[in-house]
Amino acid sequence: MSYRVGRVKGVYAHTSLLKSLTIELEDDLNIIPGQFLMVWLPGYEEIPLSPSYADQNIVRLTVKGVGETTKRLISLDTGDRIYVRGPYGRGFDLDKPGKYLLAGGGYGAAPIIYSAYKLSKLGNQAVYVEGAKSIKEQLFIDEARKLGLEAILVTEDGSSGIKGLITDYIKQIIGEFDILLGCGPEPMLIKLLNMCIESGVDCQLSFERVVKCGIGICGSCVLGDRGLLVCYDGPVFNKERLMDLSFKEVV
């Protein structure tokens, strides 16, 4: 698959470093929530990004400017070109019946809010929980509410919503749900996995690794001692797959 050329249609700044770019492509890439695109800016690196929204030929990428490439990405303006290939990997399975608990930590909330869009379209019941350091870094709470979902913000500094860690909050409510979808920092995912194992709740979790080729050949994104590839077997793994790895190996 070679690159599709997109144009930036709009930029929304959540903070000065955290922005959402709306990209217009020539065609519909049929991206499943949790799948990712390899995004390239000529002269910079190519990086994997899992969209925070996609509909027909519109894709939204939520990016935190931390490295050279991501800093360049968040400085793009309307009309600028952006190159993508994909989608790649395995996304969330949203067809399972039941009550969904959606858990997004930091910019890991991106594929989670996109899942929320799809779930509300499918008419599935879902509650959206987002963990952020502070209110300033909150991303998609308003969007989730507009979708008609119950949306709960958990901030580490207590500047808004519930004070604490997202995992502590989820521990209190997880029993009310059938399935949990999670994306965020790895310690959060490990805690969520253990909670799901203890409570018998099903889960699908999206893991992050250094993805270089995106197509399952370079091996840079290996996860665990069974040789799972984040770009090919994941990034979303179901509970059975993850239980197969021991806690330590996943860390």
Binding site: E45, C213, I217
Partner: protein, 302 residues
């Protein structure tokens, strides 16, 4: 029941499929997974003396008839062989250790180490087309290759294969290497190539040049395997665009003993080895052969 077993310089493979070097193999878990999935042997990524980060992304470019890569020989350095090999070994599947270097001393040091940690075959990467002073840069020189192979076969007992690429003089390189005791030939590596994005107006790969693999190079590889077998009949691991059992059978008929699979892993997953070996089995049954060994180099008999 037809027999799919082959031997590469005395190393027994349960079937002719081999995970090609550069694909997934600098991690024990991945090599192990490949071996479990059905490959007859697995090849590590090329190890170098020092660890290498590899190039910045983009490291691959998907093109019409294949794939371009410039991974840049990313690997954790040859000392990791000690940790990787024992963990990677499963079900007795042979492990081919690929080595890349600039100087003979480097190869000697790494080859001894690989032998000590259980390499079944040492494969010399004399053909990577995208790293300077390694691979193709040294592998096109028949005198250097002869010296290198001569030194190595003097110090290790493990069979030494040389992996060649597409050069004008590959027959001379092969001839000199076999004279000095190379146990076999791996052919071919990717072919130096480039992809330019017409809107970005720049080469896609960060390294600009890369190696072309996939269906585009399959007929080229068939020719190289045919030439080498006709002249020297060494054990050959044939590599280049094998995506289906038919491609593998073509290599076998041309003279390959084993079939390397690389790029197709991305399209079909590691289970490609099973699909290819099952296909070879069915072909042999239908064509009335008892063993895969009966068709190696078959075209040369007519």
């Amino acid at each position: 029941m037809v027999d799919l077993r082959v031997e590469l310089a005395g190393i027994k493979l349960s079937n002719p499929t081999v995970l090609a070097s550069g694909i997934l193999g600098d991690n024990a878990a991945l090599l192990r997974r490949a071996a479990k999935t059905g490959f007859g042997a697995v090849t590590t990524k090329s190890f170098t003396i020092e660890p290498r980060e590899g190039y910045a992304t983009p490291i691959i470019a998907e093109v019409k008839a294949g794939l371009l890569n410039a991974v840049g020989l990313a690997n954790p350095g040859y000392k990791e062989i000690k940790d990787i090999l024992p963990k990677a070994r499963v079900n007795g599947v042979p492990i081919i250790v690929s080595l890349a270097g600039s100087k003979i001393d480097e190869f000697v040091e790494m080859a001894i180490y690989a032998e000590d940690w259980g390499a079944d075959i040492v494969e010399l990467n004399l053909s990577c087309p995208h790293v300077s002073m390694m691979g193709m840069d040294i592998g096109h020189d028949p005198a250097f290759v002869a010296n290198l192979v001569g030194e190595l076969t003097g110090v290790i007992e493990t069979p030494v294969f040389i992996k060649i690429g597409l050069t004008d003089n590959y027959m001379e390189v092969v001839s000199r290497a076999l004279d000095k005791g190379a146990a076999g030939i791996t052919a071919i590596n990717t072919v130096k190539a480039m992809a330019i994005n017409i809107y970005a107006k720049t080469p896609v790969l960060s390294h600009r040049y890369g190696g072309l693999s996939g269906p585009a190079i399959h007929p080229i590889a068939t020719r190289v395997i045919y030439d080498i077998y006709r002249e020297f009949k060494p054990p050959i691991i044939g590599i280049g665009g094998v995506e289906a059992w038919e491609d593998a059978v073509e290599f076998l008929l041309a003279g390959a003993t084993a079939i390397g699979i690389g790029t197709a892993v991305s399209k079909h997953g590691l289970t490609i080895s099973k699909v290819v070996s099952d296909g070879i089995r069915t072909y042999l049954e239908r064509e009335g052969f008892e063993s895969v060994r009966d068709i190696i180099g078959y075209v040369h008999r007519k």
